[in-house]
Structures are given as C-alpha cells and as structure tokens.
C-alpha cells in the first residue's frame, strides 16, 4: 500500500533519466547514412591549379581524409592547427574540399594560416557537398583503401577526436589491406 506513493517518484526518475540522456546528445550531429557506403565520386579542379582535376577514384588504394572547409567558415580556424599537426606528422593524405568559396579568398586563407592539405579541390556550387551530405562546414570523412567512407566527423576536428577516434580508426584501416 505504501509503495503506491513511490509510483510518481519512479515515473519522475525515469523521465529525468531520459531527459538527462537527451541533454548529453548533440542535436546538430545527424548520423550520416553514407558511413560504410562508397564515397560519392567527383572530379573537381584543384585549388592550386585550375586546369588539373582530382577525384575520389584517384585516392583508391590509400586511407585518406576528406576535409570540407571554406575561408568563410569560422570553426575551420578552430580545427586548423589540428589539421596542421596531422599534415606535419604525415598520417594520411588530407584532401580539402573547398566548399562554396571563391578561389582568391581560399588561396589567401591558406597563405595566411598555412596549408595542411595534400590537395584542395574546388566545389564552388556545393554540388559535391550535397553528394556527401554536407550540411555544416567543417566536416571530415575518413575513407578506406577501397573508397568506402568509414567515419564522418561533424564540426571542427579536436585533438581529442584525433587521438581517441581518428588515429585508432586510421591504424585499423591501414592494417586491413
């Protein structure tokens, strides 16, 4: 009989549990349906040389990162030092997808801050971005030797994300031939 009075309390605790869990989630992180799917093919002019093009197929056989960036993107500055470290350590090829940017501004941005990219390709109208399900810059895709997207990082790449997620995944993918 006494236990009856505990029912509202129990209901409250269950609700609080759900809400508390919900607070831990990041609503801006939408799981990508592209993970474990082949990376969408593209062929875009490179930023450095407009008459040369690069595509996802050219990276076949390598584990690589595709980083979506833009000179107008504020959070890109935040992740930039982390990308510079990745480039310095020559972990994997880092391809930049310069998203809805202008060529002079993008080049000036790289000159001002440093260029961590093996190559940057120009996606001026954002079509390739849509193919990759990009909805907020920066985003980073980890792609394996077979050209399959293995992981998508949304938002600026942090040192913690590199240490705890990216590097272990890269090592795992490098081992698997």
């Amino acid at each position: 009989m006494k236990a009856k009075f505990l029912v509202p309390l129990a209901l409250f605790l269950v609700l609080a549990g759900f809400l508390g869990y919900g607070l831990q989630l990041n609503p801006r992180e939408v799981p990508s349906p592209l993970v474990d799917k082949p990376a969408p093919e593209f062929r875009l002019a490179t930023l450095a040389a407009p008459d040369t093009a690069l595509g996802a197929a050219d990276m076949r056989g390598e584990v690589w990162l595709l980083n979506v960036w833009a000179s107008w993107c504020v959070s890109c500055r935040e992740e930039h030092p982390v990308l510079m470290e990745l480039a310095r350590d020559k972990v994997v090829p880092l391809v930049g997808l310069n998203y809805k940017d202008t060529r002079p501004e993008a080049i000036a941005w790289l000159e001002a801050h440093g260029d961590p990219y093996t190559t940057s390709v120009v996606d001026a109208d954002g079509r390739v971005g849509i193919d990759y399900g990009v909805y907020g810059v920066p985003e980073t895709f980890l792609i394996d030797r077979q050209g399959v997207i293995r992981y998508k990082h949304i938002g600026p790449v942090t040192r913690e994300a590199v240490r705890d997620v990216l590097l272990p995944k890269i090592a795992e993918l490098a081992r698997a031939s």
Binding site: R28, V30, S32, P33, I130, G133
Partner: protein, 179 residues
C-alpha cells in the same frame, strides 16, 4: 524688400509644383515597362517544388523545412528539388536522393520501420494501456462499493438525524447538550 524676394521665389515654386505634377502623371507609364518579371516560369512545377520542400527538413535550422529556411543549404536543396522535378523525376525519387545523402532526418514524416516502431505505435500503446488501467480501476471501485459494510436501519436513521441536525434521542451519543 521681403515681399520682393517672395515674389522672386514664387515662379520657381510654381514650376517645381508643375514638374512634380507632370512626374506624378507620367511616372506610372514610365515604370510600367519595368514591372517585375514573374519569379517562376512554370507555376505548376513551382507548386510541386514547394509541396515537397515543406516535407523536407533543413539540416542547418533543424526546426524549419527547406521551403521556409533561408539557409544557403536550404536554397541549394530547393534548387536540387526543382532541377530534378523539372528533369522528370518523381517525388519519391527526389526524396530517395536526399535520404541517401542526409538520412531519414530530412523527412518530417518518418518512415515506418524497425527503429521507428515505438514512435509510430507508442501513442496507440499508451492509449490502450491507459484505457486498460481505467477499466481495471473502475471495476475495482465497483467491487469496493458492493463489498462495503451495509448500514442497519438504526444506523441509517442516526445518520439522517446527524445530517438534519435534529436529535432523535435513540442513541447515547445524541444526548450531548446543545449550546
């Protein structure tokens, strides 16, 4: 002195007024040729684009559809929808195209599948559970009333007397002095 300067001003004021009048009369004709061109060339297509856009969620401002949002991505996606519908694709094909890239999240109407079972059936389950609980409670209440102790004729009379405020004098408790 003052009057002469006023007289001097008068002709120019009159001509300014005339000029304004002429402009006001002539202006509508002058600007008629520059009427804004219709924004859409195919209103029927545009209606389909907007219908579909209202069902698709913008990923940047997540509580707006891509029809409502002014985010650059929403604009791009609207253009994609328009382009693909214009190319003769069906509504379903366009939705599939977007779901393949952005997931079920872009749909305001989530599909009925394993992971959304609770979402779709939850309200019905709650209704059934609530109705079941209510039925059980009502049945128990009826039972409690039926099995409640019955009053004898004397007890009934005493209760009536207490409620009426009269003193029937049949029981000792009613013999209290009244102030």
């Amino acid at each position: 002195m003052r009057a002469s300067s006023f007289r001097h001003l008068l002709p120019s004021a009159v001509s300014a007024l005339m000029f304004t009048l002429i402009l006001a009369v002539a202006a509508p004709q002058a600007f008629a040729a520059d009427e804004a061109a219709p924004l859409v060339t195919d209103p029927q297509l545009e209606e389909r684009v907007m219908d579909l856009s209202h069902k698709l969620r913008c990923l940047v401002c997540q509580n707006q559809s891509i029809a409502e949002s002014n985010a650059p991505l929403a604009l791009d996606l609207r253009n994609q929808v328009r382009e693909q519908l214009a190319a003769g694709k069906s509504e379903e094909a366009v939705v599939d195209y977007l779901v393949a890239r952005y997931g079920d999240f872009v749909l305001y109407l989530p599909p009925f599948k394993g992971t959304t079972l609770l979402l779709w059936l939850g309200p019905a389950l709650l209704l059934v559970a609530g109705a079941g609980w209510l039925g059980w409670r009502l049945r128990r209440r009826a039972e409690e009333v039926r099995s409640a102790p019955h009053l004898t004729r004397d007890e009934r009379a005493r209760a009536r007397a207490l409620l009426d405020g009269t003193s029937p004098g049949t029981s000792p408790s009613s013999e209290e002095p009244r102030s």
